[in-house]
């Protein structure tokens, strides 16, 4: 292709040509200046080229080779069946170990970015004055088979921990992880609400993204890191038939995935703004047992506790960060004894405000990813969708 700049005489025929490539005009739509048609045509040309470049094909019988080749480079984690319709992200070395059709794992991939227990600081008191160092052990790894709800969860955590003051433990760990997404062609179960929050389609957040096309996967390459990987494995580029098959999958999902609560996400912050004294919270609070399961399994719950451990030599030790839960009775208690959220209803309300109100105001994004884990795991069978529906009914 000729490189820029090009002379005016070369551009003119192109502009005239593209001006005739008109986008379909909708009924009642006024005609537009010719330049708009030029812009439209160029955008279509660029887009078509880009889409065919960024998609590759992997035959399903070659998946084992793909995983094995990846596992030779780095640790690979993927969903593994654990029985009783439970799944967990674990290290794998072949495709046979992976559950390709799985409902959201017990714990989200958050555990690879913000481990349940993480050492933040080593200290040494042997000298005249204390010394400390923040050491991080984060070997490179790949997570295969991340659903779109969990990709969204990782994106939420990225926003929180990149905000100043930054959390470098999280950021450096994140940079070492290669993320390979996997599309859900159908609902996992009735607890999910991914269509409500728009997470049933991929919204970025991955290096590679797999969609099942029956006998093959079509892989969207989203990053240079992903490109280098598929290039290295010599995967074929997608052809127009593959692209149509992908479009058909996405089109089919439009019908299958429908807003699960009948209220738009954009209307929820207003409902929550009105709903601080809603009777829903009392009803939910009366059933809640404050076990903290809902927050532990949530892909966007990141509250934590810090604790010191001193070694047996009484001179060295370390500080660790562990997952905490706003559902625990003493979570908001201060040393003087005052508890600012002593009631379970207050704590449940707080949890949902942290998903549907506060983050939408602050980050323009729902921190509920629609994965449905909180409902699935709740010992008191508190359903997120039912709670939202009741709240909407009361505060429309």
């Amino acid at each position: 292709m000729k490189s820029w700049p090009v002379s005016g005489s070369e551009v003119l025929p192109f502009l005239i040509f593209t001006a005739f490539l008109r986008p379909p005009r909708r009924a009642g739509e006024a005609s537009r200046p010719l330049i708009e048609y030029n812009i439209w045509a160029v955008s279509v040309i660029i887009k078509t080229e880009a889409t065919s470049v960024n998609y590759h094909i992997l035959r399903k019988d070659k998946l084992d080779g793909f995983i094995k080749s990846l596992a030779r480079k780095m640790k690979v984690c993927a969903p593994v069946a654990k029985g009783h319709n439970n799944f967990a992200f674990e290290e794998v070395s072949s495709a046979g170990e992976i559950a390709l059709s799985y409902i959201p794992t017990i714990l989200p991939p958050k555990k690879y970015f913000m481990p349940q227990r993480e050492k933040m600081l080593d200290f040494d008191l042997t000298g005249d004055q204390p010394k400390d160092a923040a050491n991080l052990e984060a070997p490179g790894m790949a997570i295969f088979g991340v659903h779109t709800c969990d990709l969204a969860g990782i994106q939420c955590l990225n926003m929180v921990f990149s905000e100043k003051p930054r959390d470098y433990n999280y950021i450096l760990r994140k940079e070492k992880v290669l993320i390979i997404g996997l599309e859900c062609n159908a609902y996992c179960d009735g607890h999910a609400s991914c269509a409500l929050v728009g997470n049933h389609y991929p919204n970025g957040g991955y290096d590679l993204f797999f969609t099942d096309l029956g006998d093959r996967f079509i892989i969207h390459v989203n990053t240079q890191k992903g490109e280098e990987l598929v290039e290295g494995m010599g995967l074929a580029k997608a052809n127009p038939a593959d692209m149509s098959a992908l479009d058909a999958v996405r089109e089919g999902k439009k019908k299958a995935f429908q807003n699960e609560i009948g209220t738009e996400l954009k209307d929820l912050p207003a409902v929550f703004a009105k709903g601080t004294d809603s009777k829903v919270w009392k009803e939910v609070g009366d059933r809640c047992v404050s076990c903290g399961n809902c927050t532990n399994v949530c892909p966007t719950c990141y509250c934590f506790d810090m604790a010191d451990t001193i070694n047996l030599d009484m001179k060295t030790g370390f500080r660790t960060r562990t997952w905490d839960s706003c559902q625990f009775g003493t979570f908001a208690t201060v040393a003087g004894g005052e508890n600012f959220r002593s009631e379970r209803s207050e704590r449940q309300r707080h949890r949902l405000y942290r998903k549907f109100k506060y983050p939408i105001d602050k980050f323009y994004r729902s921190f509920c990813t629609g994965c449905g884990r909180c409902t699935r795991t709740c010992m008191a069978k508190i359903s997120l969708k039912d709670t939202l529906k009741a709240l909407v009914a009361e505060n429309k």
């Binding site: 200290f123 160092a133 050491n135 010191d308 030790g317 908001a332 003087g336 600012f340 105001d361």
Partner: protein, 277 residues
């Protein structure tokens, strides 16, 4: 293994250069950082790390106009603060911070100031009072109201005697329960407010005390027609990380403020819709 040189969890090293038991439960510490001044503003707090025990958020009680070291007054209340009672001159601490939004001293410039402190609330407020005293000509009339449970609970007694003698500040004090030697007011702190002359359009009230005190003091101030945004509070929560992340200090308010980052100082206007102050 990589070392995170710029980790926000790394601690500054502070050595206690003076310590004094103030009351049965409260101890005062003067701390010098090995890497220079704390560089805080009035109303901010630090995270104090006692290696092997843990960390707790403590308000800085000295003014930034005091250079070379900073002061903390610590009540024995939780695990860490109990351990701190045993520390003295020469002991080392880990310090993170300063954290939090300070009192809006620039907005207060040129205005009359009314300070209302209850109990240990005098500690964070002292960082502002001494700042104002050191920059006295920048401000209008200054009134200080202090409430304590009993006369023996009074903190900074010697310094308070100095405030009482000054002509440029008006100091009033009350105790909930008297003792035989007490000659001052007896009663709740709210009883002192009607006696203060307030020009609502040019007065800032700064109120720091236990949560229960806010409700009644604010009601008195509103009776005096003080605008809601000229009532400044410093709220108490468990600020575990100080960086707006750990979630412990978040306030039950439609805006879900993080007390450590959006506060601890707020105008009453900002937090009046909170479930609890």
């Amino acid at each position: 293994m990589t070392e995170i040189k710029n980790s926000n969890w790394k601690l500054r090293k502070g050595q206690i250069i003076a310590a004094k038991q103030m009351t049965a439960a409260e101890k005062w510490f003067d701390i010098k950082l090995e890497d220079g001044d704390l560089d805080h503003e009035p109303g901010q707090f630090v995270q104090v790390e006692l290696y092997g025990v843990g960390e707790a958020p403590i308000s800085v009680c000295s003014s930034p106009t005091k250079r070379g070291s900073f002061e903390l007054t610590v009540r024995s209340a939780g695990r860490l603060t109990k351990h701190m009672q045993g520390l003295g001159k020469g002991d080392w601490l880990g310090i993170r911070g300063p954290f939090g939004k300070p009192f809006p001293v620039k907005l207060m410039t040129g205005n009359d100031l009314l300070f209302v402190a209850g109990g240990l609330g005098i500690a964070p407020l002292r960082s502002l009072i001494n700042y104002v005293i050191d920059n006295r000509r920048e401000f209008g009339k200054v009134d200080i109201l202090l409430g304590c449970k009993t006369p023996t609970d009074m903190l900074f007694g010697d310094e308070i005697k100095g405030w009482q003698k000054r002509l440029d500040v008006e100091f009033r004090c009350t105790v909930d329960r008297s003792d035989p030697d007490w000659k001052g007011n007896v009663g709740l702190i709210t009883s002192l407010i009607p006696g203060v002359t307030i020009t609502p359009e040019k007065t800032f009230a700064v109120v720091v005390g236990p949560p229960i005190m806010y409700k009644y003091v604010i009601a008195e101030l509103l009776k005096k027609s003080l605008p809601e945004r000229q009532i400044i509070l410093s709220l108490e929560r468990h600020m575990k990380c100080g960086m707006g992340k750990c979630g412990h200090c978040q306030i039950d308010h439609p805006k879900n403020y993080y007390c450590c980052k959006d506060g601890p100082t707020f105008t009453y206007e900002e937090v009046k819709d909170s479930k609890k102050l």
